[in-house]
Symmetry: none
Subunit: 236 residues, 4 copies
DNA sequence: GATGAATGAGCCTTCATTCAT
DNA sequence: TATGAATGAAGGCTCATTCAT
């Protein structure tokens, strides 16, 4: 008998739903089979165990994201240093924009990954992305002759942690069930936020407070703020 | 029979170990009772269910951290605006330094919280911290008359998300089993990183690239970097 | 709650029945629990797994048999050599007679052991009995100064195998569901049979055919036999 | 499609290995099909169920052994009584020698049969061999006019049981993984052992102790024994 | 004939929780 | 209060067997 591709689809969809609703541990293969309208055995014909089914749901999406990032970073790495400096921000913005859309095109999968409670796969995924980003950053640093590494400001550990923090910050949009448009806005801001942050690492004499304006003495602004904040429910 | 306080302690210690080693779902009440040298019943006398025991392990530590943060933020909020501007960074640095130590003084509990797989409590905890921080930030913005909110650069959602990302970035030290000293160094850098980031939000005319030096044409730096990177194993 | 000894008994009885009827592999813990009128969990409170339950059914009986044999062999080994020679046969007969009764007093257990399909325990049991018997035999050989070992007629391997064969021969009564009285008669004969056999090992110049009478030329005997055999159904 | 004889062979070989390694119950048809490089369906085309496959592995070997025994016993039965008496031992020795070789030429099959945990087939096989032997023995008894049956010393049940014990004793070589040469030596001894045993049944006035030498007073033998036994590790 | 997907009963085991003692 | 026996649902998984292709 030919394997029923339709049933495979139904199974994956059912698994996606079940993992989404209950998390990895609490999800039940029995329930997934029932949701899919087939038998427990049908799962085991396709996947050796629960973890493999989980990976079948979430893995391809991860791989696609990773592949896209890889291509993106590669393209960037092959530009000449001058152009890298010029284009980096634009590149990053475009990349991140695409990423947010990808996250929302596969919202369930990423939600499962981020919130599903099966940490190993998520951490491996995060680790790989972080390593990829780190490698590209090292290459950039080398290409443009930056001293962040040689000066000791940027150790591999710090690189790894900060990149992890950056990606995690982006993935928050999934954890918080933010809407797609809002997410774009947020992530755009976050990029700027990070960009400034990275400057503290790239440039030893970067002045964090440079450009910080003098305190506005205009009371009107303060009043407007007060109104806005109160409208929000007053928590602050 | 009088409730045996000693047994309560043993129970909590046993639970801490079990949750730490296995995570929430995989932890077994039977095993905890055995570790503590008492019975499953002893658990149910004290806590209505597994989740309550978990909370008993992790809750007090959370509460203490929260209380400390609250006090800290309150103190800050009661200073006059001029002083807030002057002292903010010092305040933050001191607070964060203390926090890292607190994390390491209660490493097991935070590890459980961050990696233990019981997301609800962690998220609630994170949410509260974030709200506290957000409230303080709103108050600060109001006090100093900043236009981040009025200008629309800082919506409540963005505030929430960025603060979440910031705290999460700090908590990475636990997830990554970083050593205490290293963690201090990392978090210090991270604070600078965030500080710069926040400026992009506070100040509309903040120039991210201000102070970014011209590309160094000194080839010596590039060469030294090359050597360092190669010594690292060549991953970049 | 005090453990319900009654339930334990019912559980063991149920297990005994189930193992007896279906063998180890095919026996189901579910069925055993149902037979005993309790829950599957009740089994696991008492025994860590299926194998342990099996052993709880069959082990004590084995141990008692073994202990009795040990005492018996010890007593024999402490007699002086002359007496050992005189008494050996009587000792053996008594011992074997008791053993047959023991077998029938615990028929189900032995049936399970011999036919139940869990070979490891049976083989360990058999091995222990055989070793015990072998040790005693060695001591006897030494005590009376027999040359079976020194001459090479009796190697440890042959000793082991023949003893195994002997015990197995006795246990056949269980495998064949022979009646108790019949079993006594059979085992009695078997002892004589073995006794003669052992002489071929103990005594190098033992003449197997000694005492074999000349062929009876009495045709009456042959006729009577014919009738008897035909009455049996004629298979021979 | 024509049935692939090669596949049949591969299937049988795979089944032999699987049953050999895991026993009947634990053997899996899936594993067998995989070992054979074909499908589960291929098994069901050839054999109606697992038991039939088992029998296909083990049956032909059994049948060949049985057929050979039958021919052997027939030949013997057709000799005239006088010759039977003269030749019996030589006949038996030759037969048993051949049998041991046959056992080792088909070691896996017999190991499966004896230790594989599917008792029914083994018992049926044993039963048939025993009946064949019994029938021949009856014929012999009749031919030579022996009184074992008429006297009541040898009932059908005793006949059956003793023959079972004898064959089982021989099959021990398989259960114990004895080497072929060693097995020959052991079985040779066992035949002598049994021969003496049978005399206790054939001859009412057979004196088991006849020819048993007086106790050797030679202390040298005892000493030598002591050394040998100690060299063995002292278990006796 | 051959395949292997599908089935679904059934396996042993673990678990949090209840409750009699 | 403390115990731990009892529960029974649910877990993941394996299996021989069936049958559409």
């Amino acid at each position: 008998m030919k394997r029923d591709e339709d049933a495979t689809e139904r199974l994956l969809a059912a698994a996606r739903e079940e993992f989404f609703e209950k998390g990895y541990e609490a999800a039940s293969l029995r329930a997934i089979a029932e949701r899919a309208g087939s038998s427990k055995g049908a799962i085991y014909v396709r996947y050796p165990d629960k973890a493999a089914l989980y990976e079948a749901v979430v893995g391809p999406v991860i791989e696609e994201l990773y592949a896209r990032m890889e291509r993106c970073f590669d393209d960037f790495g092959q530009m000449d240093p001058a152009m890298q400096r010029t284009e980096m921000n634009a590149y990053a913005d475009r990349g991140i924009g695409w990423m947010v859309d990808f996250l929302y095109d596969h919202f369930a999968e990423f939600k499962i990954l981020v919130c599903g409670g099966k940490e190993d796969l998520y951490q491996r995924f995060m680790h790989r992305m972080v390593e990829l980003d780190s490698a590209t950053t090292y290459r950039y640093i080398e290409a443009v002759g930056n001293d962040a590494v040689t000066s000791g400001r940027l150790t591999p550990e710090i690189m790894h942690m900060i990149n992890t923090a950056c990606f995690t910050g982006i993935f928050e949009v999934v954890a918080h069930d933010m809407g797609r448009e809002e997410a774009h806005a947020y992530v755009e801001r976050l990029c700027l936020f990070y960009r400034a942050g990275w400057n503290t690492i790239f440039y030893s004499d970067y002045d964090v407070s440079a450009g910080v304006p003098k305190p506005p003495s205009d009371p009107a602004t303060a009043d407007e703020l007060k109104r806005l904040v109160e409208a929000r429910g007053g928590s602050p």
